[in-house]
Symmetry: D2
Subunit: 367 residues, 4 copies
């Protein structure tokens, strides 16, 4: 099945494996007239680059992007934008162990069951490097949203048992600590916890939060193409995600109608606004004018150097210890991936919303 | 935008409003040769019928399904199966209050923002009655899965603060209590809690869980069409869902790699199997041979008769009390909707998986 | 496979068989705010009604449409519009001959090969009655186009060997003759030819032409979603179509660049326009500001009462004579079907074109 | 709109402009286990290479393909196959004339109307070089079809007024003349005609035919996803195509039922077969077991060096003569493009057909 595309009017198609020649994306449906250069993309890619702290893998990945099409005289032309990042760290590793067994928590076993064999080098298509294409595409979506007054803010809100304290929320702190947390105290505690994990050859899970400000109300459709449904798919398509919430999420299941319903009122400028945001910015699948708030739960990095039980491809029970350089926690580098997928999904909803009303269509063509 | 279809090879398209002439669905892509009658559909629809206990609305909805196409001599023909449920409870209500204001927690406000106006009778397209089409389509998907040895089990695992005790899990109990919980003691506690909510003109949220047994490994695709990503969209497209998890879900974010990774081993019959199921049956977006386990968090019913602050369509701040017959909790009737959307998603993945290997294709056409 | 939907942003999904309970369509993605009643649809359906002359089947089909959803207070709401036409002429025919053999020129044989069996009553899903759903959907698309100043004109331009003379083109004549031809003399000759066919228990092919006026330039996309490519699919999805042309079509293959290229010039009002229209209104897959001109070749009605050689389902060679009431030529009733599919395709291109430029998007959301 | 993808289960996404950095394609949904190398692709690309005769442009385009992903140990892995052809002939041309005016017969004018500006270098996205991605993708589709016993044969059947004589049909001749015609005498006449065109600074149209042998009956769906409808879109999405036919095509519109219907009979081996093939291999939108026969009409090359009237971007009426190296006829190089698009469409239908019957699905999963 063709499963490497995401989006309807604005669509990304990604390709590439961890240790093949490169990773890339084709961005199709980008509106014409957006000023765009490789620097716009690179600044996003740099946010997922490894080697920035002891909590991310020490592999050196330059991850330098090249735009091959779709730009003319510094602007998008409306035709597909192809981007590639060549794989430079292709040292000849010894993959014989990965090749011959099924690593717990990895896609090795279902890959073999589905396709009969797999590119076992560094996880192949299921490597986190696959997200490079998403981030490159998301950088473009985010730039378009910015032009329309819509902004995204993303960060780590929990690492293992350590969560941020909302009372200490500090957006400026996100870029100042290795874990991208908006709470310096929580970041320090999380770092201590991760050091313990590393010492035990272990790893930790975590939670990423993304907030979108400036959305007009009414984006998304009332039934299957709900804005939150498409966000759920977008975020759950990122490797290692095991949970997704909008607004109060699972806490809403423990709440009552009186506490969970957001009252409507009038803002200072006379416009209609919600007085609280338990809904996280969507009602009935459509944006409700409040900030969009979503969260993604990431499982612990499955690659750990502690001993684990598994089986070989031929079915023998064996013990393995996974070598190599692996992040002890996924979330710091996943922040920009969550933001990218959110930007793509929101932009697609914004584009398709233009056809909702006959008045809007008539106004567009009469200008 | 055309947003009322779900699925690729097996696809449902739903239509209808709460108080229009009826509700319906077109099921397209159903394979030929499945014995199918209205009774197969009706038994599913009856599971979402209101009026079965004091915890579901006392409206009388016969919800009697009629199949209009796609069946010949008792079997599906491979052509679209159109099904309708006429709306019989169309008493002339007084909708003037709903028409003129924005109910908190409802889709009224974004509907007006998106489309300029709305069918305000009973929630219109955003009514829970919209799920009739999903359940009718899901009944067919589930029947096909059953023919292939795949079964689904769905139930309520939490109502407000009351959760089931896994040690007391009793599948037979699900049908015996009004809340569809697999734990009689939890069901009794939940009923007591809901009585408190009712007394306070309030409502409660809850959690539905669905387990799929018998899935072959390898369903789903490694990138955007991950089985869990499509399930996330399927479940989040149900009204009132605010959270979704596979396997350990958000608990995985607090876990470590050592506890979260599922070891592989050999089963009694020599086949490969996982020794635990923290993953909930998917690895890298593909089914891993273990039971698929998913959970959906539903917010409290937004329609409550307690006083709430809101604004009128013209922007005046007002207080409303929502009249009428409303479920104090959504989850008991949502169980079958979650099961239906899961069945459709799993079947679609199963169909598209047939083309994964050249060997499989060649074998199919050489027979 | 789910193959009963057409269109992306504006999408129809049809269902129903010739002799089942009815025929219907779900129109999804219709913009909100369009005044719409059953009379708007019925006037289109009446154009394909049989029994209007001796050149169309004498079956009596009331074909009365009912709208079941998507309209509130006389206007479209933006949610799916379900429409049904119940089958009233369900006399108990003797289908044993059709059931047991493969009619030449019909879909019987591939149906059995694909699905294992078929609903053989009156052609089942492959009956011309399937087009009722298309025409009902096209009526809505055409009404929207009309609101935007875009109009469609469709007619028969050839029946068997008889073609219209362009010098005698008379749009008013279309509705005055039984064959819907814009040339009374050609219509008379064609009627004489069809009488010969009827006398010989034979049938004739023909050609339908459709012209769209008022299209803005730039609709359609430069590569796979060319306006002409989508029109080609739309028209070729109508049963019995064997050829499709835009503009000069196959004649362009015999022409030279000097004669086929359309010069650009300035119109009286100073705007840019083409001086000729060999291209038929598209250049590079996009509308070029000139009228869109397309033609569809329909094969002769395959149901003829003359003797034909064929085989039974069990493989015996037999001779059959097809009984019943059949049109001796398809094109007079196909005119409105071609127009409907054209309207749907053009509208979809018009909607998706709204996102082509960043300026256009920004202008839309800034209003 | 995202308009650069084609196909559902087997899908190509193309990118690139004539004079940008390169041209490429991502092939998604390719089944795993197909032996594939760059040589397989290159042999197809070489068939569209210019400079092979005086009737194709003398530009030197190496068009050397590189596979960047999706292959491991010489076989497809089931993940996307990215391929690029770098543009080597990027001499700094003088494009000021093309930039400032609208060439007759080209996409320049609608491009500006749609997107506000365009990459005017060599036609940009609308260049014939765009077809490189299609041919690379089609090479893979054709190889898969070959593995399943399905073969394609494509050739030029007409150049301007010169058509092949079916009585002289000689498949071996196709590769022996510069025009890829299966009739040496017609090829000689066509060459003489093209020499006249060249002498007059003029160009010619032509017709390409493609035949597919070995198709099982039942491919394609009965309504919108008819095999012929998807072929019509596939072929009409190729630049310069103005007409498309299956089987007898427009000639069927002039025929009668008695002559056009294909009788069924038994073949020597006892199987059911059609005795003639006026239908061109499809009945009711599904393959009927006979060879698939389709034809595409290409307009004359619009780039001619004779004087033409047009307007500048600012609306002044001017005269232009198009400089540069252009094919006097498109069809010899278009043969492989038609074949590629046909292969992709047929393969997609073959894959989706696997889910038509419950028996087929059950058989597949029970193995």
């Amino acid at each position: 099945m063709a499963g490497s595309s995401f989006g309807n009017l604005f669509r990304i198609t990604t390709w590439g494996e961890s240790h093949g020649k490169g990773i890339g994306v084709v961005v199709d449906g980008c509106p014409a007239g957006l000023p765009l250069s490789e620097a716009d993309i690179q600044s996003y890619l740099d946010r997922r680059k490894p080697g920035q702290s002891r909590f991310t893998t020490q592999r050196k990945e330059a991850d330098s992007v090249e735009i091959l099409s779709g730009i003319f005289e510094g602007k998008t032309t409306g035709t597909p934008i192809a981007m590639t990042v060549l794989n430079t760290d292709q040292r000849s590793h010894d993959y014989s162990e990965i090749a011959s067994c099924y690593r717990p928590g990895h896609a090795d076993y279902p890959f073999d069951q589905k396709y009969g064999f797999r590119d076992y080098r560094g996880g192949g298509r299921s490597s986190a490097r696959e997200t490079i294409g998403r981030v490159a595409g998301g950088a473009i979506a985010a730039k378009i949203l910015n032009e329309l007054g819509i902004t995204l803010l993303s960060y780590v809100c929990a690492v293992g048992p350590v969560s941020i304290d909302r009372a200490r929320f500090d957006a400026d702190a996100i870029g100042r600590n290795a874990l991208n947390m908006p709470d310096e105290k929580a970041a320090a505690e999380a770092e201590a916890y991760l050091n313990e994990c590393l010492a035990a050859n272990n790893s930790s899970g975590g939670v990423v939060e993304c907030v979108v400000n400036g959305l007009p109300a009414g984006l998304g459709d009332p039934v299957f193409e709900k804005l939150d449904a498409n966000l759920a798919k977008a975020i759950f398509s990122i490797g290692a995600v095991k949970g997704f919430e909008i607004g109060d999420g699972f806490a809403a299941a423990r709440a009552t109608g009186l506490t969970n319903n957001d009252a409507f009122g009038r803002s200072a400028d006379g416009s209609i606004e919600k007085k609280t945001n338990h809904s996280g910015g969507t009602l009935g699948g459509m944006s409700d004018g409040a900030p969009l708030v979503l969260r993604a739960a990431f499982k612990p990095t499955p690659s750990i150097s502690a001993a684990q039980q598994t089986v070989s491809r031929t079915g023998e029970e064996i013990e393995i210890r996974i070598k190599g350089r692996h992040d002890p926690v996924i979330v710091p580098r996943a922040v920009v991936v969550v933001e990218a997928m959110t930007a793509i999904t929101v932009l697609d909803a914004l584009l398709s919303n233009m056809t909702a009303k006959l008045d809007g269509i008539a106004g567009f063509y009469r200008r």
